[in-house]
Symmetry: C2
Subunit: 359 residues, 2 copies
């Protein structure tokens, strides 16, 4: 069996966790639960069954400092930096070049860095089933999360027939990938069955991936091959800056998965959440008897179902239910829980007022 | 006509404006509107028509530093310090000793330091009418605020017949002082007429006041006369510490006003508020088109009728109406407006948790 590698995608930048997530410290570097940041939890999850020198991270150059400070257990040469963000397919492609240099037949497990995953043993079994399929069937394998409700915030994967090649976890051929649906369509998916949430976790042989890039994204492939020439030489930095800058932004879903035929899905029944807003953090955090969750010293007085994050302050919440209060430095968010999605608009307003020091 | 003196009572300590009011900085020292603190506004109000060397302040020894830093325009010897708080009658008595030394027939205007007063010209005319009555009738005169609604947070004064001795503002003999009523009783007062809110502003000749103390609070009078012996000597500090410590706590209302017969009331129609909670500050502060008031940089997103104080932070309020958000150092209050009175309970809880650094 081939050797396994892990590639953690950590280039994202976002505003959903403002004021904690800042331009210089996106979500994956935040400790939303306990002491470990999301990327540290992601690395640890894989380090339990993949040697650390086989764990790679692809990120943005601008995040080098915070990334390296949080991944001191990984070799520095396993940190691959995009000079500029080009979405997932070029990012995975760039990292795949380095892994292919080392082990072209290695199996690569690509994972987001900023999701919540619980039930480690089930997660590992699921990944191992995917690895088996990637190895035995030269497949492109995705983990599909069994949907719990008609979510409109996730892409879906529609499965075809079940497959069985000795793997532990239920797996399927894939019929199609579908974009984020509206609530009626999503409700239909759950009723029809055979639909899964797209987890953003993909497993394939490095060689199978690069062949797919060549087949479905030949321009990107040509660019990657150019970059490959410079790996290990003095000209690499200059070359990647120049060539990558011209690369077209495209997701792996759109660029390969929706087009390829050898795509499979392993059913993910572990606890999974993409942590899209403070509301999700509240949902998964520990709560007291009034369903309040807190980080820091908080006095709740006739307040329930609320979330407070202010590790260095005392916060008093009086007579308010269903609120989110977050303090980070000189910024404070006070938000009704069902409006957590609107933080983007707050960030937009701050940008409009040119108060960049708060972003 | 006698000379006028002003005595500003600044010894209060309170928790209603937590987290801005702290043990070391009670309400009177806060700038709730604009740049000036409430005590600075109070001093300024009188300094418009009373020479600064005739303006006295009585306060607690523990407030000496903050008081002197905010009243640099007043002579230091006009600052009278209680070694320990004993309510208004002993405090006024102690200060009256010093004023009597200078001018026993002077007229003393006693005023709280922490109230909101607007319409300065009407205020001055009201005080001048009271001074006239205090002078001509050797009266104990109080300013009664024409009630706007059946408040349950104020004491009331019931008037008897109107008097006219040439003063500009409508004035009355006083029938009785009554404690804070419940809402039914207060509604009755407004319906019956002749009731006014007790403003805590009193005007009398120093001599008339001291005679009243002698008559209605003879023990206190004896103690004050003992202290008087030490004024201007090296033994004053020791004597006041020792004697004042034994004095009984009592308010001027209960100790004198409710008992004396020569009590008068001048009708106060200027804007007056005792600023009993953040709700009152919100009510009197400037508001934008969504009825939001703010100090500091605030993003209100679908939020109205709210108050934010955070001069050194950016605060975003999303999807919440009728809230109060106050940040002071490492403390944050987030409170439904109609629960502003419950801040005392928050302070109680912080005390219970022994987190004195936040008080």
């Amino acid at each position: 069996m081939s050797r396994n590698y892990c590639l953690i995608m950590a280039g994202g930048s976002g505003t959903r966790f403002w004021p904690r997530s800042r331009v210089a410290k996106p979500k994956q570097y935040l400790s939303l639960f306990g002491d470990q940041s999301l990327i540290q939890e992601s690395v640890q999850r894989f380090a339990n069954f993949i040697p650390e020198d086989c764990i790679y991270v692809v990120s943005a150059k601008s995040q080098k400092e915070v990334l390296e400070s949080q991944t001191t257990n990984l070799p520095k040469q396993n940190m691959i930096y995009e000079p500029v963000g080009k979405n997932t397919l070029p990012a995975i492609g760039l990292a795949a070049l380095f892994i292919a240099e080392k082990d072209p037949e290695g199996i690569l497990i690509v994972s987001p860095s900023d999701h919540l995953i619980q039930n480690f043993e089930l997660f590992r079994q699921t990944i191992e089933s995917a690895v088996l399929i990637a190895d035995k069937k030269d497949g492109i394998v995705t983990i599909g999360i069994t949907p719990k409700f008609p979510a409109t915030g996730y892409g879906y994967v529609q499965t075809a027939g079940e497959i069985q090649i000795g793997q532990a976890i239920k797996s399927f051929a894939v019929n199609q990938f579908v974009e984020k649906p509206n609530v009626e369509v999503a409700t239909g998916y759950l009723k029809d069955g055979g639909f899964f949430w797209n987890s953003g976790i993909f497993i394939f042989k490095v060689s199978v991936f690069l062949e797919s890039v060549q087949k479905y994204a030949p321009e990107l492939y040509a660019d990657l091959m150019q970059i490959k020439e410079h790996i290990g030489t003095d000209t690499y930095e200059e070359a990647v800056d120049r060539i990558y800058n011209e690369v077209k932004s495209i997701s792996i879903d759109y660029g390969i998965l929706e087009k390829a035929s050898n795509v499979f899905l392993v059913q993910g029944d572990f606890v999974w959440n993409d942590l899209g807003s403070w509301e999700e953090v509240y949902k998964y955090d520990k709560k007291d008897e009034n369903q309040n969750a807190q980080v820091g010293e908080v006095v709740f007085l006739d307040s329930k179902n609320s979330y407070v994050y202010a590790p260095n302050s005392l916060v008093a919440v009086v007579g308010l239910d269903d609120v989110i209060v977050v303090q980070e430095g000189d910024t404070i968010l006070v938000c009704k829980r069902d409006r957590a999605e609107d933080i983007k608009a707050v960030v937009g307003e701050i940008t409009k007022r040119k108060l960049d020091q708060y972003l």
